[in-house]
Amino acid sequence: MPLDTSTYSLALLRVDGRRWNELRRLHAQIRIQAAADGSSYLEMGNTKVMCVLTGPSEPQQQQQGQRRGQATAGGGKDAAINVSIVVAGFASVDHKKRGRNDKRTQELELIIAKTFASVAHTHLFPHSSISLALHVLSADGSLLAALLNAATLALIDAGIPMSDYIAACTAGSTSSYAAADDSADPLLDLNTQEEQELPFITVATLGETDRVAVLNCESRVQVSRLEGMLAVAVDGCKEVKQLLDKAIKAKGAKMIREGAAEKSDAMAMDLDE
């Protein structure tokens, strides 16, 4: 379904009613699963992903990891980060089964593994492995960004030291390659429909700084547009970082409140006021 760009230039509203610099609703949760070392659930609009983290633990056999086709980064003296993404068959509108050896999924796995190997202080856990299992429950654009954000949250939940958050989002441009119109606007946080029509980039920054950790562009875009897109995306990442931070602080405050109550009846009575 082609995106009617003419309506955008009239009202400056996108298909889902957003302005050019608006994020979709971002909802984040951490510690959703008792059995995991760290876990998170993230919604960016209709993109819903879940991350379950195990580790740092004794590494699984090296060959086994290789055979499974998981993306691994680090290893040896540093902790290895294994990422496996499972895209549920029901994630998109049409049912599509993606195997473990799907090239597209492997590419995403590798990007995520490499990013976190550089940000997390893996040298603190030598000869161990950190496994991230990412489940895509619903995919509606900005998938890589959502996966990166969910992985950040799970790593924080598991208490693995990192130099900063990895906050990610996408930015696109209303101009197509052929149209050399100067009035093209950059757009923030694209959904599937926009992703299919417009050139876009995925950017992840290190916290609220301007330091870019991931920059991924798979579509043809005019060089002159890139700067504007990048600026919008970096601003978006800062916004995302604040939202992630808020979710973690909210959970932390809740745990202190509840944790204090739990402590008193689990331990001795002298803690009781």
Binding site: Q33, A34, A35, A36, N46, K48, M50, V52, T54, Q60, R68, S84, V86, A88, G89, F90, A91, S92, V93, D94, H95, K97, G99, R100, S131, A133, H135, L137, S138
Partner: protein
Amino acid sequence: MATTHTLLSPAELNYLHTSLSLRPPIRSDGRLPTQFRPLTAETGILQGTNGSACVTFSDGAEAIVGVKAEIEKTPDAQQSGDADEKKARGDWVEISVEIPSQRDDDAATVFLGEMLREALLGDGEFAKKLWINRRFHWRLHIDILLLSPPLSYPLPLLSLTTHLALLATRLPKLKSEGDEDPMFDDDWESSVFVYPREGASEGTRPPITLLVVTVGDNVIFDPTKEELAVAETALAVSVAEVRRERPRGGMEVDSKGRELKLLSIRTIDPPSRLTPPGVPNGTATTATEGKPAPSNLSSETPVAGVWKAPLGGTKFTVVDGIIQAVLEKGGVADEVLDGLDGVELA
């Protein structure tokens, strides 16, 4: 079953085995032999599916199931026959199981998927629900995702989640008639449940698969990983509820429980066969003294208090006992179905 590898010493295994063979057995989490782990269930969690469910066990094991339906042309459409006859095929249902850190074509995962599939299609009633007309049918994709790291054998969890997801599955209402190209009602509100709410016909409830093990003479339901590690037999038994038209006006109060029918049984290879054996006191010294003959024999004869991995199969009476316990009226299967009936369907 690499997922259920336990790191228990022979002494621990023996302790577990002894306490589970007592009458009544003492389980490490204090449950009764027929008691299930408490669970939290939710349905209709994914908007993009025809039906979905999420179940979390108290130990943190969590699974999500999404059901998606697509229309497909039936290949042998030109076949003549009377229109009422619904020729349905089992391969209209596709089940895929995803277990983290395991390949999707791993033999154990395939085994799990096949087990759930054969229970679902066991009575041939389910495939008929997907029949639209002689030219078209629904293709149902059931995607089962285990979200948590595999703690124990995930079969009961996956089966219960699938059961709920299928109960919540709705298909659009058919507007067209006969063998013309199907047209459906756009209104999701008027969609029909695959398993009708109020129904008295047969096959109105999806099956459930229970994992049952025996230790000593005891039959234990819903075993944990540790219990599975000392089990002598493990069986996966699938049952479904039979709902029949009850005579009206009789007001027969349903106190005896529901009628269950058996759909499938599969033996699961119990991981206890792979556990390390204990060494009885004294055999280590006799072996060094150069008497090879008795050392071979002594490894065969079990010594009380020393763990030994079970050998051989299961007696028919034990198998029979398990099936009896599952099919028992007002038994575990009933209890589980009651619990699942209580889940609100979104």
